[in-house]
């Protein structure tokens, strides 16, 4: 994969620095005054800069010559500054989310019971999302493909962030996370690797299967939803939030995947596209139970002080992914209105 086209001073600073210096310490990119960032969660420049820095920890870039860039202390300084702004915005959004839930201590006798009840409660009312309903009933083939392209940034790296959490937790929670990840990674069958299932769906539509093609067009909000997983997974202090995020994601996935599957069939898209969503209806019904009861409940039984973080991570998942979904819906609506007016 090659470095993406920067789209503002922050991403330009990061991309140019990685491109320019073949070896040695990388200068801290000239930070755009963070005061210019009005809303970090949709700011494509900030999210792209952060995404590039995170990608150094996954598969990296072919045109970054210095293999040590991943742990370059000056790039770490840049990442920390971007992360601070990002995390602050996520906490503000979560704080502004209406909470009608009782206090954790009123939800059960033990931290495990409390967290289980909180996670079940906050995900219980979510039926299929508005995005999934749109794809099911209304989307054109082109709109459906634009959805796949937007989500590719997530699905082509699906489950990788959470793998960073495995060594950071112990006991029953670690065992349950490993069990969930084993299923995500194909259950011993390379052809069932979930990332590969998604890539096969893209290929069946003659769409590119490399991540770089999709990063170039992903919105700031989509990059934020992906960066959120890296933020939680790559910072050990946020391991509770990472697992709460996973639980909320899995618990709100089966029903939407079922709708998207029906949308794919309505549009007579190739079976490879349907296969990805078909797999996720069943898999995520299992993963939801593993994530809530196996991972999160066991994690807080082991480390009770993580209970508020687990709930924070779950709330952040629903809020940030909800924002990304809203941006998608707004885009489809605006393009339909343009066409109707034109």
């Amino acid at each position: 994969m090659r470095l993406p086209q920067p789209c503002g001073p922050l991403s330009e600073g990061v991309v140019e620095t990685l491109r320019a210096r073949p070896q040695g310490l990388h200068a801290v990119p000239e930070p755009r005054a963070m005061g210019d960032v009005t809303y970090p969660l949709t700011d494509r420049d900030l999210q792209l800069a952060l995404w590039v820095l995170y990608e150094l920890h996954y598969r990296g870039f072919d045109d970054v010559d210095d293999p040590r860039a991943e742990w370059d202390p000056l790039l770490m300084v840049s990442r920390a500054a971007l992360e601070r702004t990002f995390e602050h915005a996520v906490r503000e959004l979560v704080g502004a989310t209406p909470q009608d839930a009782p206090a954790l201590e009123d939800l059960g006798d033990t931290p495990a019971e409390q967290v289980t009840a909180a996670l079940v409660r906050m995900t219980a009312r979510s039926g299929p999302s508005e995005v999934a309903q749109f794809l099911h009933r209304r989307a054109t083939r082109q709109e459906f493909c634009s959805y796949l392209a937007e989500r590719a940034v997530h699905h082509l790296r699906e489950s990788d962030p959470q793998s960073f959490v495995l060594p950071r937790i112990g006991g029953a929670a670690k065992v349950a996370l490993a069990e969930l990840q084993y299923d995500e990674y194909g259950g011993g069958r390379p052809d069932r690797l979930h990332q590969a299932l998604f890539a096969r769906g893209l290929a069946s539509l003659d769409l590119p299967t490399d991540l770089a093609s999709y990063v170039e067009q992903a919105t700031g909000a989509t990059l934020a939803s992906v960066n959120l997983m890296s933020l939680f997974a790559l910072n050990r202090r946020l391991r509770g939030a990472a697992m709460g995020h996973l639980a909320a994601f899995e618990a709100t996935s089966s029903l939407p995947c079922d709708r998207i599957l029906r949308g794919a069939r309505r549009l007579r898209l190739p079976e490879e596209v349907a296969d990805y969503y078909d797999e996720h209806v069943e898999a995520d019904a299992v993963h939801e139970q593993l994530a809530i009861r196996g991972i999160c409940a066991a994690l807080v039984a082991d480390e009770p002080e993580l209970a508020p973080d687990v709930v924070f991570g779950a709330t952040a998942c629903l809020a940030v992914d909800g924002l990304a979904g809203q941006v998608l819906l707004d885009g489809w609506r605006a393009r339909r209105e343009d066409r109707a007016a034109g």
């Binding site: 079940v120 019904a285 593993l290 009861r293």
Partner: protein
């Protein structure tokens, strides 16, 4: 070789998690092969994919649209 254990775990308000089974026989007598390490078996009867759970217990509506 150690004997393989089959473990069934009840999820309150949700499915049964089954580990280590080879097949699940549905109410119509059809045996569904188990193709993942852990499977979720429907308990509410509302799933469109019986015997597997498809999270329909969360969906308030009884009838699912095609």
């Amino acid at each position: 070789m150690s004997k393989r254990r089959v473990v069934v775990t009840e999820c309150p308000g949700g499915p049964l998690l089954v580990r280590g089974a080879d097949e699940v026989v549905g109410v119509d007598g059809t045996a569904a092969p188990v193709e993942r390490a852990v499977v979720a078996v429907c308990r509410c009867g509302r799933s469109d994919r019986l015997p597997w759970c498809d999270d329909s217990h969360r969906d308030r509506r009884r009838k699912r649209s095609p």
